[in-house]
């Protein structure tokens, strides 16, 4: 199972996610990236993301994304 960081890098390979405190305000993820990342996470973790799941506040950091995934029942090392 790929990690969140691996999916982030696949979404935007030019971005330095490791040194960002806020992916949204730092401009590393925009609305199109979020859609692409959500599709990748749906494929990887077998979940469905919709509605408020796609709000930018859920994608500000790896921890925020992990919280979102945990709330959708994703377990294990992500």
């Amino acid at each position: 199972m790929k990690t969140i960081m691996e999916l982030l890098q696949a979404t935007n390979s030019d971005a330095d996610f490791a040194h960002s405190d806020d992916f949204i305000s730092d401009g590393l993820l925009d609305s199109m990236d979020i859609q692409m990342l959500a599709v990748a996470m749906e494929d990887e973790y077998g979940i469905t993301l919709a509605g408020t799941d796609l709000m930018p506040m859920n994608y500000t950091s790896v921890d925020a994304i992990r919280d979102l995934l945990r709330s959708r029942g994703v377990e294990g090392d992500i």
């Binding site: 401009g27 925009d30 609305s31 199109m32 979020i34 859609q35 692409m36 959500a38 599709v39 749906e42 993301l49 919709a50 796609l54």
Partner: protein, 341 residues
């Protein structure tokens, strides 16, 4: 040898009015669209289609009297009745003995049109077929919708198809697909027979955090779901077309996907394993032309680098419906433009 349908000529028309995208919006750069042509208030779908056909006739020395069938791909015809193709037939001076019909598809429409044209020509039902696309989507996208509005431009294309003698089909390996279960993912809810215009009031959606809103008469698009559809369907479509044609990606002379936006196209290129194949990706000055995006791209390639030497070109359209289609096109029978001498 056999008699096969072939693309002989392609031309286009873009409305004069240009709507620039906001340069301060980083999404604009990401989708690769700086500006879009927009139909004027008094320009309807048939007006654009007629101009594209006139450009085709002029560029290739084609007489309207020789056309015996008109197919017009259009989602927003001039009227709910009659077919815009009938209006186009009359305005172009195409004989009354010609068949003419509209068909309503979006971004998959050109490939479907090629398939229909192939069927009509190779069964002897048509000889000189005019395949038109005309898109006036901007009339159905809210000006207050900063998410969808920057994507779409208006325009029309015209393609001439005729029978040619050849040792192989020049339009081949068609693959079609449909998922009406996701019809609501790209939709204009009101204005058709489900919510008729004279009894359905205009209602605005609740604005999002950035103030984007749209009415029930405007286009709605579920962005993530459409991205998911695209990223899953197009790679499989590509694989299926290649298998049907007994080709590998390395055997392709070019790939022209529906020009949705640059971001999606780059992602698709990699996901489809097409990084080493000539891959068209340029809608900087047009935006997404819907069913016209593939023929417009083909015309552009032809004018810059020539198409006639390309025998295995993969075409794939995908979008509203949801609907998709792909094929392999051989441009060996393309006519020279009059200006080419």
């Amino acid at each position: 040898m056999g008699t096969y349908a072939a693309i002989r000529a392609i031309a286009s028309y873009l409305p004069e009015k240009i709507e620039p995208n906001d340069p301060s919006n980083p999404i604009g750069k990401k989708i690769g669209i700086a500006e879009r042509h927009v139909a004027a208030e008094n320009e309807a779908a048939s007006d654009l289609a007629v101009r594209a056909a006139e450009n085709l006739f002029a560029a290739y020395g084609i007489a309207p009297a020789d056309i015996d069938f008109v197919l017009l791909c259009v989602q927003h015809p001039d009227h709910s009745m009659p077919s815009a193709a009938c209006i186009v037939q009359h305005r172009l001076g195409i004989p009354q003995s010609a068949g003419a019909l509209d068909y309503g598809l979006g971004c998959s429409g050109y490939v479907y049109g090629l398939g229909l044209a192939k069927g009509l020509i190779e069964t002897g039902l048509a000889k000189n077929l005019l395949l038109l696309t005309s898109s006036v989507y901007t009339k159905f996208v809210s000006p207050k919708d900063g998410l969808i509005r920057p994507l779409f431009g208006d325009g029309a294309t015209a393609t001439l198809l005729t029978p040619v003698e050849a040792d192989h089909p020049l339009l081949d390996a068609f693959v079609f697909g449909t998922d009406g279960g996701r019809a609501d993912k790209i939709v204009v809810p009101a204005g058709g027979s489900r919510q008729v215009p004279h009894t359905t009031p205009l209602v605005y959606d609740e604005p999002d955090a950035r103030g984007n809103t749209r009415t029930n008469y405007d286009m709605h698009m579920a962005g993530k779901d459409v991205t998911s559809f695209t990223m899953h369907t197009v790679p499989q479509l590509t694989k299926d077309v290649l298998a049907k044609a007994s080709l590998t990606a390395g055997g392709l002379d070019a790939v022209v996907f529906h020009q949705a936006n640059s971001y999606i196209l780059e992602k698709l290129r990699t996901r489809c394993g097409l990084d080493d194949v000539p891959f068209y990706n340029d809608i900087q000055h047009t935006g997404n032309l819907v069913s016209g995006s593939i023929p417009y791209a083909l015309e552009t390639i032809d004018s810059k680098d020539g198409l006639a030497g390309r025998h295995n070109v993969l075409l794939a359209g995908f979008g509203v419906g949801l609907s998709w289609g792909g094929c392999i096109a051989d441009f060996g029978a393309l006519l020279p433009r009059k200006s080419d001498g």
